[in-house]
């Protein structure tokens, strides 16, 4: 049931991504008694509260001690349980990186790492809380799947897909509710979805930036520039066939991510294109190799040129042969 969880069944209001995964965890917990949830003093701000209320005996708040939390999760996983570890993206991926890598990746234990405050979405929280390296770090880990759903509906779908995955999974949650353009189609882990068709250029986007990529594509179409938009909700394993087809069939590729341009989506696409010898023009939008300033998230996206305007600008440049 692709739609059920992203609406409040009583009010029919659309749910945020946090509410959506919170409900999905309860759904998974009901179906699978081996599902456990862990947080580090953030059950409320991460909306893991639903699971804590439903299954108090399978929910653990381990305090502000992230390394221990992930180590504990590995112990639970090695004993046959399936831990969902929920945290702010920076602390999740950096404080406990080695535990994720050596205690989950290496022994290929099942476990799902769900992160809130992706990219610069926290805005004025500042650099300690800007998660601009998380996808790159998680991509580095053998056996790890890396997901970046665009909205609440796909966050719920990604959470279910992660449960079925035979190894550790990282889910980067964008607290967004806008349509991805992929509504009604199944969420297939490992494959990109086409959310806008065109042949002059391809924009590959992940997370909430998919919505802006679609917006940019609609604007460009008015000027006669047609753009294929690929919604890359799975950075790893990457749908390399879709990348290479875009390289063959359209003129240029622009990647868009709320993340450093190094090692994430742009990095993964660059590696794919270079290794295949596809001499396609590639533009990587995202945070260049700097710490972001203070600012509200939309201001920061405009500042770094990866809001809808910035994406349209980059496509125009890439297709004009100029810039």
């Amino acid at each position: 049931m692709p739609y059920g969880t992203t609406y409040n069944v009583d009010t029919l209001e659309l749910l945020t991504s946090y509410e959506a995964y919170g409900r999905t965890l309860v759904e998974l917990g009901t179906a699978h008694p081996e599902v456990v949830v862990l947080t580090a003093d953030l059950s409320r701000s991460t909306r893991a509260t639903d699971f804590f209320t439903a299954f108090p005996e399978r929910a653990f708040n381990l305090g502000i001690a992230e390394q221990n939390m992930v180590g504990c999760a590995a112990g639970l996983a090695a004993s046959g349980l399936v831990p969902f570890v929920i945290n702010i993206a920076t602390f999740q991926t950096m404080r406990s990186f080695e535990q994720i890598r050596s205690d989950f990746g290496y022994p290929r234990l099942r476990g799902v790492f769900m992160s809130i405050w992706s990219g610069l979405s926290g805005g004025y929280v500042g650099a300690t809380h800007h998660a601009i390296e998380d996808m790159a770090l998680m991509r580095l880990i053998p056996n790890m799947a890396v997901l970046a759903p665009a909205n609440s509906e796909d966050t719920a779908a990604a959470t279910r897909a992660a449960y079925d995955y035979p190894g550790p999974v990282y889910i980067r949650i964008a607290n967004a509710m806008d349509p991805s353009g992929n509504e009604g189609n199944p969420f297939v882990l490992g494959s990109m979805a086409v959310t806008h068709t065109g042949s002059d250029a391809t924009v590959i986007a992940c997370g909430a930036q998919v919505t802006d990529a679609n917006r940019a594509a609609r604007r460009l179409a008015e000027d006669g520039i047609t753009v294929r938009v690929l919604y890359c909700h799975t950075l790893k394993p990457l749908d390399t066939a879709a990348v290479l087809a875009a390289a063959r069939e359209t003129g240029a590729i622009v990647t868009v991510e709320d993340h450093t341009t190094i090692g994430g989506l742009g990095g993964a696409v660059a590696e794919t294109l270079a290794e295949a010898g596809a001499g396609t023009r590639l533009v990587r939008l995202g945070v260049p190799d700097v710490y972001a300033p203070i600012g509200y998230a939309p201001e920061l996206y405009a500042h770094f040129g990866y809001d809808a305007d910035g994406i349209a600008r980059a496509v125009r440049q890439a297709t004009s042969g100029a810039g």
Partner: protein
């Protein structure tokens, strides 16, 4: 550093007045921010005031003065009271905070040493401050300086393993000129520290790691003055941990409500109420 006997009633009254001023500015800055960490910003005000307006060897005209004492706000989310303290001390004009949170501002939710004059370390991720403070105290030895290093931590922050790695190092190296302060306001972001992941007995823990420990009322200016006056003057003796018993949200009655006001937004009406209470010296005790 002044001996306890020299602590005059005038001094205590002046510092208490300063603390009320800072609490009022905290409320105003928090409202300007939209929402912020009110609880933990208000609980540590009295400690900050005694440090910045009496104890610390600093020169706000020269924020990078080499001989200055160092202060690390390990609980970097306390910026809403810390930044007004720095402004009032004279490190920068208060008007500099007017654009808080907006694009390019020096001020956001946490603190950046490259943008805010007077900040000795960029913080925001919990559990980083004490290890850095240990490094600064070791630097004093290498550079043969008699600076002191102060580190203010949250109580739930004591859950972090890195704190205890640093506590171990400070005890081992006998960093006598290091003073750690724990803002023991009893609540984390979610609830009572003793219900979530107990940190007590904190006194015994630091003592076992080789620290001199003092536990005091963190809202009592005289008690704070005495404790800081009693810090050892020499290096190569036990580091000092001050466990400051405080009230989260101190000074505003409706914010003195456990973890409720760890983070939140204040309405205009409640802002006026909060400021009236602070001016009137209401709130607990």
């Amino acid at each position: 550093m002044t001996a306890p006997a020299q602590r005059s009633d005038d001094l205590v009254r002046a510092l208490e007045a300063r603390a009320r001023e800072i609490r009022e500015q905290t409320i105003r800055l928090g409202v300007k921010s939209g929402s912020t960490h009110f609880g933990g910003s208000l609980s540590m005000v009295d400690v900050l005031v005694v440090l910045y307006f009496y104890v610390l060897r600093i020169d706000p005209q020269r924020p990078q003065w080499e001989e200055r004492d160092r202060f690390i706000l390990s609980k970097g989310h306390g910026a809403t009271s810390y930044c007004p303290v720095l402004a009032t001390a004279g490190f920068f004009p208060a008007g500099m905070m007017d654009d808080i949170n907006h694009l390019g501002s020096a001020f956001g939710m946490h603190i950046d040493m490259r943008k805010i004059p007077g900040v000795d370390m960029s913080t925001g991720s919990l559990g980083h401050g004490l290890p850095v403070a240990v490094g600064m105290a070791l630097a004093d030895r290498v550079q043969k300086k008699d600076r002191r290093v102060f580190c203010m931590m949250g109580d739930a922050e004591q859950n972090e393993g890195s704190i205890w790695e640093a506590a171990q190092a400070a005890g081992h190296f006998k960093l006598g000129r290091l003073c750690a302060i724990v803002d023991r306001n009893r609540y984390s972001s979610e609830g009572d520290t003793e219900e979530i992941l107990a940190i007590e007995p904190l006194h015994e823990k630091y003592a076992a790691f080789g620290w001199e420990v003092r536990r005091l009322d963190g809202h009592s200016i005289p008690a704070l003055l005495d404790a800081f006056a009693a810090l050892p003057t020499h290096d190569r003796t036990k580091p000092t941990a001050i466990i400051a018993d405080t009230v989260k949200g101190k000074g505003v009655s409706f914010m003195e409500a456990g973890a409720t006001w760890h983070y939140g937004a204040l309405s205009e009406e409640d802002e006026a109420k909060a400021i009236a209470e602070i001016r009137g010296g209401a709130g607990s005790r």
